[in-house]
């Protein structure tokens, strides 16, 4: 899936768009697991500026296929093939 980030790319080596193939695993991928995966594999520095506990830091919007993740179940949304996840930061300073 793709994961464009706006403004937060400083934390991801400056790369705005990431096309990612998630490894197969028994449990289905949901956003919660995706965030954990991102923290481990993509975030190069200062994880606390992006992730807070289980979820994204307050002030970071998550769009799944151009729709608000609140309409999709937030962390419980099950990812599907070719899904497009966008993170937009509404904060200042990263």
């Amino acid at each position: 899936f793709e994961a464009p980030l706006c403004g937060a790319e400083l934390l991801f080596d400056g790369i705005k768009k990431h096309q990612v193939t998630l490894p197969c695993q028994p449990e289905p991928w949901d956003i919660r697991n995706l965030l954990k995966w991102i923290k481990q594999n993509l975030l190069k520095e200062r994880p606390e500026l992006f992730i807070q506990g289980d979820t994204v830091r307050p002030g970071i919007l998550v769009l799944i296929n151009d729709a608000d993740w609140e309409l999709m179940g937030e962390l419980d949304y099950k990812l599907q093939d070719q899904d497009n996840v966008v993170f937009i930061s509404t904060l200042h300073g990263g």
Partner: protein
């Protein structure tokens, strides 16, 4: 909020495969499936959201009636989401063919602050290139300014210009009608007057309007540019706290924008402050001791400069709405690192408040709007006479041009602060602390001038009485006053001399009010 559940039939749009989505339809058209949630549980589909967004902008301008037809308005573009969105709304508003289209003449200003934020010349060039693409695509005349130019500003920036009369309600309608009639007379097939003027302006405008520093281009001016950059870096280097740096940056940026507006004949400046940002600003200003100027700092219109009025048309949009709009409708933005990018959480008051507010908002979605609505209720009071100097009109802060709020009355919080400051100073002067100090404004730190032999302390003591409380805190965190731009220092000098002179001739002045019956 909606929980994810199993399949919902009939929620898909033509191009999309069925996805799990909330059963709720768009709350406006009741037909399409929603793409975002605004406020608490208001789900909108894409088309309705766009309508809502565009309408809000026009309603904001129409409601406040602040912008007269044919007026020149300067849009302050930072490259960030809110100001880019604002630019798009202005473009849309001006391009409509209906009678209700917006009627002012826009220009754009972009201030390059890369030197302060630690960017290299190459990075700044790149950012400028990206910005220029956007600026040129807009079709409006634009001005590129570098923050280094503050060192060449005239001290008239710090003087409040005479206020152009606003005019009563019905004059707005008259102005609009007159404008429409004039347009009809002159038209007859050709592009309307404002658009023609814009095209002319674009043709004659040079690419980079940077008085003083063409710094990044021509080699001769490059040297001057490098000197100024060095000065700027030194100035910000002498500021100890991130909070003070942010405040100073904002102040200087505002001065620069004001200068450009005055020089190019703009009577209004549009800033892209969103609801979220204003809520943060409100609380931050309270923490910084700027409570007295909350109304002008966060209100729709800010007329502290007199002739140029700053308006904030984006103030009812939350950051989320803006982010969604930009993403869904392709509004280009340029990301530039700011002073506090990647700073620690508690590095500055601004960050602390932002984190607090956003964190609260996540749990209680009406937080930001509540803070905002409370701020909306603030309004500016008419200026009171200043009892300390007996002046008929209130004094204004040297840096932020708000009314001075530092009259030390008995029992006021400021008096308490000054007293405790004085008591906690380690080296108390031998001379009695009571009685006026050697500074004209004498409400300030009594022992300060006698404290050290360094001239810096003297200069600071003279400087502080000219500032409002909030600006004083900023300056207190600045170790080297000499690195402040010349216009600030010369205006401070001028005011100090005037105050000293006034004090000398005080007893010969005829007073209007009966405050001092002993004076002749």
């Amino acid at each position: 909020m909606c929980q994810a559940q199993e399949e919902y039939g009939g929620c898909d749009q033509p191009q999309r495969r069925p996805r799990v989505s909330c059963a709720q339809k768009c709350m406006k058209c009741k037909e399409a499936s929603p793409v975002l949630v605004i406020r608490v549980g208001d789900a909108f589909c894409k088309a309705c959201f766009r309508e809502y967004f565009v309408h809000k902008f026009r309603a904001m301008l129409g409601k406040n009636r602040a912008i007269y037809p044919g007026e020149k308005v300067l849009l302050a573009l930072s490259g960030g989401p809110a100001s880019s969105s604002m630019l798009r709304q202005v473009q849309e508003g001006l391009s409509r063919e209906i009678a209700k289209k917006l009627r002012f003449i826009p220009g754009i200003i972009y201030v390059d602050e890369g030197a302060v934020c630690g960017q290299s010349l190459a990075e700044r060039e790149e950012t400028l290139l990206q910005m220029e693409t956007i600026l040129q695509a807009s079709g409006f005349p634009y001005h590129l300014a570098h923050l280094e130019e503050v060192f060449d500003l005239p001290s008239s920036i710090l003087q409040r210009a005479p206020h152009s009369p606003a005019g009563p309600e019905n004059s707005y309608k008259e102005a609009v009608e007159g404008f429409i009639c004039q347009q009809r007379r002159e038209e007859g097939g050709s592009p309307s007057l404002p658009e023609r003027r814009i095209q002319e302006k674009l043709a004659e405008l040079s690419m980079r309007e940077a008085p003083g520093t063409e710094g990044l281009a021509a080699p001769g001016a490059r040297l001057l540019g490098a000197v100024r950059t060095e000065q700027l870096v030194q100035l910000f280097g002498s500021v100890k706290t991130l909070t003070a740096k942010e405040e100073l940056l904002q102040t200087l940026r505002n001065h620069l924008i004001l200068h450009t507006a005055r020089a190019q004949g703009y009577s209004k400046v549009m800033m892209g402050d969103s609801c979220t940002r204003l809520a943060v600003k409100l609380l931050t200003n309270l923490s910084l001791g700027r409570g007295a100027s909350l109304a002008v700092d966060t209100g729709f219109s800010d007329d502290r400069h007199g002739d140029v009025v700053v308006v904030r048309p984006m103030r009812e949009y939350s950051a989320k709405e803006i982010a969604f709009y930009n993403h869904l409708f392709g509004v280009p933005t340029v990301f530039t690192p700011a002073l506090d990018t990647k700073a620690l959480e508690k590095a500055s008051i601004h960050r602390v408040i932002e984190r607090f507010l956003f964190g609260l908002q996540a749990e209680f979605p009406s937080t930001v709007s509540t803070v905002y609505r409370t701020g909306e209720k603030l309004s500016t009071a008419p200026g009171d006479a200043d009892p300390a100097t007996g002046a008929a009109e209130p004094q204004h802060c040297l840096l932020c041009l708000c009314a001075l709020d530092t009259n030390v009355e008995d029992g006021s919080a400021l008096q308490a602060i000054l007293v405790s400051e004085q008591l906690s100073q380690q080296r108390l002067p031998a001379a009695s602390p009571a009685g006026r100090g050697c500074c004209p404004g004498a409400e300030e730190q009594r022992g300060c001038c006698m404290n050290t032999t360094a001239p810096g302390a003297d200069a600071r003591a003279d400087f502080l009485p000219l500032l409002c409380y909030g600006c004083r805190l900023t300056i207190k965190d600045t170790t080297c006053l000499e690195s402040l731009p010349l216009y600030v220092r010369s205006e401070a000098e001028r005011r100090k001399c005037r105050a000293a002179m006034k004090l000398e001739i005080q007893e010969f002045l005829l007073e209007d009010e009966a405050v001092n019956p002993g004076e002749s």
